[in-house]
Amino acid sequence: MSAETVEQVVDKKPSEAFLSKRRKKLVTDPLVDDNPITIQVLGICSALAVTTQMKPTLVMAISVIFVIVMSNFVISLMRNTIPSRVRIIVQLAVVATLVTLVSEVLKAFAYDMYKELSVFIGLIITNCIVMGRLEAFALGNKPYDSILDGFGSALGYSWIILAVAFFRELWGSGSLFGIPIFDYVSGIFGEDFQLATNGLMVSPVGAFIILGLIIWVQRTKTGYVEH
């Protein structure tokens, strides 16, 4: 959880642009400079678990975006009425309701996905990013800003898990979104040219390695040092 957002006070200028510089920063900051996974190191569990293939990862990313944005919005709407002594439980109730909605919708319209993601959809409830944004931002900011903030954090989470899934599916299964890329490549170069898949990438260990590499590259570029 980053400290600066806790103290951030919304300036009450009535005519703030729809996408002012400050608001743009809410969305873009978590993409790289304050990424929930690579900088704040939140939400690692699901980043490791669901990223063997692109398709479930994409569904997971969309679900997380929905849950974070909606919970930020709802909590921000209620922020002045929530009794502070029970606020964590209130947040949990809202998040759990949203997650259950997602899981019910998936069960009705994408049963195969529902079976594949199974427990991990439910585990969005415990994704630290969700509660982190509620505590750090939505409780003290207006609904629209909270939506932007949630969207930014969720996007930051999503592009990382999609990047991890890209490499894991490509190297682990030789395909992307289930399309057998390696077979096509072999087809172009002829029968003798076979690309081998790496079983390590399919296991959770592969996710650790890819994630570690992404964090390494990113921190080298941004010069971020953990305090």
Binding site: P83, R85, A93, L101, V105, Y114
Partner: protein, 255 residues
């Protein structure tokens, strides 16, 4: 801001009621679609025992329904292999028998559905018999469908599913590669005893010469034990039915 206890309680009650209504409303609206999806999934699992997963994946939901209706007929039998058409005054069809619920009853009181995979349009020309399986894995329920060829001995295929086995370990029973290890194995030994098929401990050994053993899953011995017990139990429960079909088959081939 310190609110009074009354405020907190009122707030919590209203929140609970609103969220509760929202959830139950959703469940009411989506319920029929979810049940449809579940029924379709069950058909896919049954078909999975006789045709490959790729073929099923290529089908639209309507095609799965149509294929299922034209190729699968079903009956319900009891532990003695006798056909059951009604129970407690209600009609019984194989599709509506919940194997998981029946599992809780003693074995001799359960209903046992049998799905018969037959040639298109001809219900008497059976190609294989599909038996539901149900049991316990390491963490939760496991279930599946096993297809036997008409000799009532050779396994045509198996589908396995689970509620909560460990991903990457026990959950591998849903993988096509693991399930294909069962194909062409045999459930009766040479002296005619029902010995079923046992998944072995450890992985990577070649059991192709032994018709009653299949290669195990590394790190998932307890799930494998659960699968073994499930296969053995249910083949025993169906034994009366299997033997009756087997003797029919023998008579037919003798003629």
């Amino acid at each position: 801001m310190q609110q009074s206890n009354a405020y907190i309680i009122t707030f919590s009650v209203i929140l609970t009621v609103v969220l509760g209504l929202l959830l139950s409303g959703t469940s009411q609206v989506l319920g029929p679609m979810q049940r449809e999806a579940e029924a379709l999934d069950k058909k896919k699992q049954i078909l999975g025992a006789v045709i490959s997963a790729e073929e099923i994946d290529a089908m639209t939901p309507e095609e799965v329904d149509e294929y299922y209706n034209s190729r699968i007929s079903s009956i319900v039998v009891d532990i003695d292999g006798k056909e059951v058409t009604e129970q407690d005054g209600a009609q019984v069809t194989a599709e509506t028998v919940d194997v998981g619920k029946n599992y809780k009853k003693p074995a001799e009181d359960r209903l046992y559905p049998v799905f018969i995979f037959h040639e298109e349009g001809d219900k008497d020309a059976a190609e294989s018999y599909i038996f539901p399986l149900y049991g316990a894995g390491l963490w939760d329920a496991i279930w599946g469908y096993m297809a036997l060829e008409t000799d009532m001995n050779t396994v045509g295929g198996i589908t396995l599913a689970h509620a909560g086995e460990t991903p990457g370990l026990g959950a591998r029973i849903t993988e096509g590669e693991v399930q294909s290890r069962y194909t062409n194995k045999e459930i009766y030994n040479d002296s005619g005893e029902l010995v079923a098929i046992e998944m072995q401990k450890g992985e990577g050994k070649d059991y192709s010469s032994d018709p009653h053993k299949v290669d195990g899953m590394s790190g998932a011995t307890i799930t494998a034990n659960g699968v073994n017990a499930m296969v053995k139990n249910y083949l025993n429960h169906y034994q009366a039915y299997i033997e009756s079909k087997k003797s029919n088959e023998a008579v037919a081939s003798a003629n």
